[in-house]
Amino acid sequence: MLVTCNKELQKFFDEIICQVKTWLMDMSIEKLVVVIKEVATNVVVERWQFDIDSDKTVTKDTKREVSNKQIQDGIRSVIRQITASVTFLPLLEKPCCFDILVYTDKGLEVPTTWGETGPHFIYNPEEVRLKSFTTTIHKVSAAVAFKKCD
């Protein structure tokens, strides 16, 4: 596993994670997508999608017992799959950069640092479904879509 030590990137992630955490608690998040785009042409080349299926019947008072280990195992298996996906993903030859998209409820009020954007579809994509894990409240199923090699 590679972990970034870029301060700006860390700051960015801190902000994103903090916001996403509140949305997760509100059950107002549907998907979290990491998009990888070419800087020069703005073409989307990879699209890592994490569908979050939240159990909306859950209130503040409901309590469910799931062992921490079970959840962590689920996450670990997903990460392992992601790292292993290097084997089938096409090489990124041009300089690329990433963006994080959040699919939320239509009526959600968003802080001013956030703005609406498009779904960033890939032209002529190929999809691979990855593993999923659940906390019994949120079920996260991962998938990756990438541009087919010509």
Binding site: F12, I16, N42, Q49, F98, D99, V102, P119, E127
Partner: protein
Amino acid sequence: MDSFSDSIDSQLSGMKRKFDLTGSTRKDKPLRHNLLSDFDEADNTLDLSRHIERPAKKKPMTFSLSPTQTFTADSPSLSMQLNLKAGEIQCLKASITKLENRIALLQRNTEEMSIEHDKEIAEIKAVKDREVKKASDLKSKLQYVMECEKTARDEVHRLEKELQQQTIESNKKLFIGQKERMEANEKAQQAKAQWIDKEAELNEKIISQKHKINELQNKLEESLAESVLNKKSSGEILTYKRQIEELEESLLVEKKKVKDLEFRFEEHEDNIITTKALMADLELVPSLKSEVAKLRQDNEDLRMNEQSTLRLEEEIFGLKSKLGQIDSLREAVAKLEVENEDLKERLVRWEATDTSGSRRPQSPSSISRCNHELEITNASLLMSQGEMKSKLSICERKLEHGEAELHSLKSALATEKNTSSQLNDLVKRLKRKMLLLSKERDAYKNLLDSYESEVTVQFDAEKTSQIQRLEALVQEHKAMAIEAENEIESLSNQLAESRSHLEQAQYQLQNLENPNQQSSQQDNETITQLREQNAVLESELIKTQQERDVLDAKIEQRHLQGDYDPTKTKIIHFLQNPHALAQKEREEELEKLKEDNEKLKKRNQILEENGGIVEGLTMQVEENLLQLSPSKEIESLKSQLASAEKRNQRLKEVFSKTSKEFREVCYELTGYRFDIPCPNQYRLTSMYAERQKDHLLFQQTSQGEIQLLQTDFSMTFQDSMEKYLNKYKSLPLFLSHITMELFDRQTMSL
């Protein structure tokens, strides 16, 4: 102001001169106006090119005139020359193109220059306008300041006047105050005198009051003594009152006693009455005793009587039962008598009937005997009947047997008949055969005869006769064959008919046998149809399921591609995300590179123009870039102008809108429409005006006063004008009066 405009003019003229100077001395300043010098050089080069071109043009002519003459003499030198010329031509062409390029460049430069000049002129004009504006502003300010000063002076005058007035007033007030003080002193003295007088009066009054008090004290003492007396008398009265109360109480007790006594008396009287009544009752006692004795005796008698009556009743009951028994017996006796009579009658009849018989039974015994005999005969008859019955049954059996035999015989007969008919047919056939044979025999006999009379008889005749006979035979055979064929035909027809009958009969039989089969057939048909439909539907179901699966797969794929429902969800991202930042950086870099590119291009151009040796190259490049910028500047200015115009337009729109609203509100509130037909003139048209033309016209003078101008409409309000404008000097009053008047007129007319 004039001086200012003069100065601007002088400035302008100075600038022009400068410009002219720069125009005239451009050769002296190659650094700044090197382009123009270039242009001169270009002219020179153009002249040169012309010089060069002339021989170039002339030479080919000479060549064209003598190609044949010189070609043979010295071709190598000629070809050399030709090559040289061609080279020259190429060179010249290149120079021409270069020069053309330069001309284009120069033209561009001149254009740019002109644009610059225009711009400068425009700027200068703008500066001039600005200055003019400033001057006018300053003028207006000066005027304003003057006015202010004037007003200030006026105010100072006024204030001084006010001060003087105030001082006078204060002096007056002081005087009045002193006067008042004097008066007050006088008043105080008077008050003192009055005070002393009043004191004396009061002292007198006090003395008189003291007298009065003494008197009143005396009176009080007297009254106290009286009150003591009164107290005493009141104590007596109290004792009397108590006595009276006691007496009253005793009286009440006495009255109660009296009442009790009266009650007793009444009771006593009642007792007396009762005792009297009791005494009367006591007198009646002895007689009552005797009566009691009598009654006891009567009672005993009555008891006795009762017992006797009970006994009698019992007896009566017994007698009644006996009587019932006797009645029943009587009835039975009567019945028996009737029966007896009946029997007697029967006996008589018996006797009468028996008289007719030969054997006269004299008694029932004889009858019984007869009866016995008859019974015996009956038994014998029964015996004979049984025998007869058995015989009858035997006969019946025999008959049945016979009938069966008859049947068998009949069938045998039918078979016999059949055989006989067959035999008959056979006989017929045999007869026919016999006939044929006989005929043949005859024919053979004839033949034999003919053989016998062979010698005598002619053969031809014989032959012909034989032939005839044979032909006749043939004819008969043919006829028989036809008959047989007819028979066969008829028989075959019958057979076909019988077969058809049989088939019909069979069909009917089948129909009769299974009428239910038809309905079952229908059911079967419907079942098969339904099965087919079922099959079709199943196939459709499978197809639709497949389609659904396909669609599901597509949806899944779309989902994986990141599709979403835009009515329910939205996609957001952090604005300062790495990609956006990277892109921004890239754009900036691109911009920078473009700039650098531009700079380098310029540098290159300058180097090319000056043959690679230039001093202060970067300076020149920057200058050039600045010179190039006018087009950009123009563009930016144009965009600014456009935006300013747009803003102006918008402001105009807003202003027109608000002014319209304002006018409408004014119309609604004041009842007058305000129009401005020409500057400083205002036309007011009332809401209640009878005609469109009825309006008032006002003019604002330069002093700010508003004057009413004469119109046809205003002439109709002479009186009110007199009253409100001349007397009260109030336009609003006048206007409202007109409104009221017009309104009254309208309502009147309504």
